[in-house]
């Protein structure tokens, strides 16, 4: 269970309150108007933004003051997921060892992870030689090797077209299912949320609400969300 225990994040004029729980293995879409604090919520979870009050707990352990790399989560960012000067294999290998001094066994694991996301034989390429979809696959391969119980995605695959994005979401979902990962994903598109299924957290007016089942929620969205979605 991931718990935001009376968490408050204050940054100048901006303030966000979160008091909610996500069961282990759940898939949660985080949705809400621009600037409401969707990304800030996940940044606080990941340890990039300090929380001003409350605690964040995973399986009962307080992780509020743990450094980002030690938190029980792997991140997929909106962009800049890959270092352009490193090869695909090196980018994935960073998920195992930041020093990149990999043993033969670890090198095999990198190759297997690449194979799992459909990038066999592409390890020696630089990211610039890959398509947008392939770059997203590299990021997912790294999540595999990070071997963390939570996967956090901040508007992932935003640069991809609709069809490719659906494909990536499906792959991400498969991986999460195989590994029993808990997923938190910021999105601005209700279609993504519906595809992920699971539950949805609304972030609006300074509050991150408790997650509710996605289908019914999107069928009858609250006013604040309806204004944002339009119609």
């Amino acid at each position: 269970m991931l718990t935001f225990e009376n968490v408050e994040i204050v940054q100048g004029d901006f303030a966000l309150k979160a008091a909610l729980s996500v069961p282990a293995g759940a898939k949660v879409s985080v949705i809400g108007p621009s600037g409401a604090g969707k990304s800030t919520l996940l940044s606080a979870l990941a340890g990039f933004v300090p929380i001003t009050a409350g605690r964040i707990l995973w399986q009962g352990r307080d992780i509020s003051n743990v450094v980002p790399a030690e938190r029980p989560l792997a991140m997929v960012f909106q962009d800049s997921n890959l270092f352009p000067h490193l090869t695909v294999a090196q980018n994935v290998g960073l998920g195992l060892k930041p020093s990149l001094k990999l043993s033969a066994r670890e090198t095999d694991r990198v190759r297997d992870a690449l194979a799992r996301v459909g990038l066999s034989g592409m390890g020696a390429r630089k990211p610039a030689a890959l398509s947008g979809g392939q770059q997203s696959r590299v990021a997912l391969a790294r999540v595999l090797l990070r071997d963390k119980p939570i996967m956090v995605l901040d508007e992932p695959f935003a640069a991809l077209g609709p069809a490719l994005r659906a494909e990536m979401l499906a792959l991400m979902d498969e991986i999460a299912r195989e590994r029993g990962l808990t997923v938190l994903m910021v999105t601005h598109d209700p279609k993504d949320a519906r595809q992920l299924d699971g539950s949805t957290t609304l972030v609006a007016d300074g509050i991150a609400h408790a997650p509710v089942p996605t289908g019914p929620f999107l069928d009858a969205p609250p006013d604040v969300l309806r204004d944002y979605l339009g119609g």
């Binding site: 940054q11 300090p50 450094v67 991140m75 270092f83 990149l100 610039a128």
Partner: protein, 515 residues
């Protein structure tokens, strides 16, 4: 956004050491010189006239450079012609051009036996002389007119092309364009340009050493040199150093108020198509400036080539010495710039300001101070080259820091969170993320530092031991001994080495750099 910065811990120690070194070099040496001064000698009439001359010549050079640059920048902004890109490159070159080489080139054109005097002679007229205040100003304009032109050209190209198109469709004349579009831009850009050049010319030493001198053309830096080398009057050297420091800090503070252009702005290769103005006048502006800049350098090449085979062993070993001084100095500059930039990520930008202190410090005072601090234990002659390495590194640091620090901030902004989420810290972060991402600015910064050090004729003059001379000093000695043929050949070698070092480092940063 208030973000927790993920520390690169090893940089704490290195960064703090660099800060300490720079504070000792800039403020500590000034203190050492003042402390060693046995009695406080007041500044004499001559010293004050050096202060007045310094400010006066800097003002005249700055205004002259800026004013002359206006028509050239305008011509470059609105004319496309063959060789435009080459001319823009030439306009960037004086920055890494060794001062002694330029002075020798100017002598070949404007000196007593230069082209102009020879022509006058032939016509039965008096030859002109380059020595004195006008020579100092001529050399300063030679160095700074290109800089002014580039900065003003940036201002011109920052005016959106649509505005010129609109102006043309409204039937604006050249005069209307000047009034509505160009003059407002110049009013914004010119104060900063004048300020930068004023600051550069205030600390001028080598030009004044070679072309100035005497009561009417001595700068503060030259007066410090004379106080130390001829009179060994440390008190006076310290006082003058202090005066220089105060002036430079004042100027630096003033330049915060005026927005000083960065000089590293976007590409200058765009031309706004315009059909106003006189093509002939623009052509003349460009032609005159090209001639002004290229002739002295062409003279170095033409007069230097024949002497190359006869270069003495002395000059060649000085060249070798200079190359390794330059390479070591460039390495030190890069290490210092990177350490300061990393530290300033954590401790705030105040740390970076320490790196800019050397803009206000006099290399001669630093050299004198280091001499005072160490002469009891170490033979000064042995220290000549190590001191030169360190002082040159400190003097190049502001330029390298300006290339490296914004780039590092960008890397942190782009990849800081990714690196933190992957647990990349310490050496691994430096090796895997920072250094590869910073290759270009580091290469460029090292190139600048190497070229500046290669051509530097500053602190080394304090230890003028021929067996430890650098190439610029050896060249200067040839010039003062009127061994001109060898001087031209040595100058050509120095010019080639400076450009080659810059090119090699800069190139090294670009090859295979995946962006």
């Amino acid at each position: 956004m208030a973000e927790r910065v993920q520390p690169i811990s090893l940089s704490n120690l290195g960064g703090a050491a660099v800060v300490a070194l720079l504070l000792v070099l800039t403020l500590g040496t000034l203190g050492a010189v003042a402390w060693r001064a046995e009695e406080l000698s007041a500044l004499t009439k001559n010293d004050w006239s050096a202060v007045r001359f310094t400010l006066w010549q800097a003002a005249v050079s700055a205004v002259l450079s800026a004013v002359c640059a206006i028509p050239v920048a305008r011509a470059l902004a609105r004319r496309q012609f063959r060789g435009r890109a080459l001319l823009l490159t030439v306009l960037g070159a004086p920055f890494i051009l060794p001062v002694v080489v330029a002075v020798l080139g100017l002598l070949a054109v404007y000196g007593r036996s230069g082209i102009i005097s020879e022509t006058l002679n032939w016509a039965g007229l008096e030859p002109i002389s380059i020595y004195g205040w006008h020579g100092v100003i001529l050399a300063h304009v030679f160095f700074n007119l290109p800089l002014a032109t580039r900065l003003i050209l940036q201002g011109w190209l920052a005016i959106p092309a649509e505005r010129f198109r609109l102006a043309q469709s409204l039937g604006f004349t050249s005069r209307d364009m000047a009034r509505h579009l160009e003059w407002p831009m110049l009013r914004e850009v010119l104060p900063g340009v004048v300020m930068v050049i004023f600051l550069i010319c205030t600390t001028s030493f080598a030009v004044a050493l070679a072309l100035g001198g005497g009561p009417k053309a001595t700068t503060i830096e030259l007066a410090i040199y004379q106080a130390f080398r001829f009179d060994f009057d440390l008190s006076k050297a310290a006082l003058l150093g202090l005066v220089q420091f105060v002036i430079c800090v004042g100027l630096a503070l003033a330049s915060f108020a005026i927005s000083v252009p960065s000089g590293q702005g976007a590409g200058l290769d765009r031309v706004v198509y315009r059909n106003d103005g006189s093509r002939v006048l623009d052509g003349i502006a460009i032609g005159v400036v090209a001639l002004f800049l290229i002739t002295p350098l062409a003279m170095i090449v033409a007069k230097g080539l024949p002497g190359l085979p006869e270069l003495s062993v002395n000059i060649l070993s000085a060249a070798w010495r200079s190359v390794w001084v330059a390479v070591l100095s460039a390495g030190l500059t890069v290490v210092m710039a990177l350490s300061l930039a990393l530290l300033s990520l954590k401790w705030g930008r105040g740390v970076e300001a320490v790196g800019y202190l050397s803009v206000a410090a006099s290399p001669l005072v630093i050299g004198t101070g280091l001499f005072i601090l160490t002469y009891r234990w170490v033979d000064p002659v042995l220290l000549a080259l190590p001191v030169t390495v360190v002082v040159n590194a400190a003097m190049s640091l502001p330029f390298t820091l300006r290339a490296v620090s914004p780039a590092l901030r960008q890397v942190e902004a782009d990849y800081g969170r990714l690196a933190a989420s992957l647990g990349l810290t310490g050496w691994a972060r430096l090796r895997i993320v920072v250094l590869p991402r910073l290759r270009r600015p580091l290469g460029f910064g090292a190139g600048l530092a190497a070229a500046l050090s290669m051509g530097d004729l500053g602190v080394i003059t304090l230890f003028a031991d021929p067996n430890h001379a650098t190439l610029p000093l050896a060249l200067y000695n040839l010039m003062t001994a009127y061994r001109m043929q060898e001087a031209f050949a040595a100058a050509l070698v120095l010019l080639a080495l400076s450009l080659a070092l810059f090119w090699l480092f800069d190139r090294g940063g670009r090859v295979n750099a995946d962006l």
